[in-house]
Amino acid sequence: MNLLIDSLTMVCLALGCFLGLTGGIGIYRLPDFFTRLHASSVTDSACAFLILFGLALQAGWSLVTIKLGLVFFFLVLSSPTASHALAKTALNSNQQPLLGREDKR
């Protein structure tokens, strides 16, 4: 049983780190602000869930797991809202999204 939890934690942490890295690379390579916003906000919440779930598995049923749940709850609440506010303000101050590559239009 303990081996199962440890291996599941390893898998969750590895997946979380992988998603975080793809988010980091995505924010660097993508051409336009809104695509970068998409890359960073999607991986943020997914990476947070996987890493915090991996840690919660290690902590078992205790106060630490409740705190991890609270951290995840606030991250899930605040991260999409911040991304939405960021996109709205960017659009309002006429930051035009890159609608299509010039060469591919």
Partner: protein
């Protein structure tokens, strides 16, 4: 296991900082700072597990909220600065 996660999160934070430096528009920089803050929350949580100190999670919890408030505050500044420019444009002609 935790150390590897810490290193991976540090790499992602470095990439976010790289975008903050390179970012052409101010919004790219704000996006990078927001992502950096979220990754800091995760780093504090994993580091707390690495050093067997459960009280780090309280810090992570507070930092998650402060980071969100910081982003929203800067956005309000951008919003107000843009509105001021627009009202001036309407009044002047």
């Amino acid at each position: 296991m935790y150390a590897a996660t810490c290193v991976a999160i540090l790499i992602v934070m470095a990439l976010a900082l790289l975008r903050a430096i390179l970012g052409p528009t101010a919004f790219d920089r704000l996006l990078a700072v927001n992502m950096f803050g979220t990754k800091t929350v995760l780093f504090i949580a994993v580091f707390g597990f690495l050093t067997e100190r459960p009280d780090f999670l309280d810090i992570a919890l507070v930092y998650a909220l402060v980071n969100f408030l910081g982003t929203i505050a800067v956005l309000r500044f951008f919003e107000r600065k843009h509105l001021a420019a627009k009202t001036e444009a309407e009044e002047s002609p």
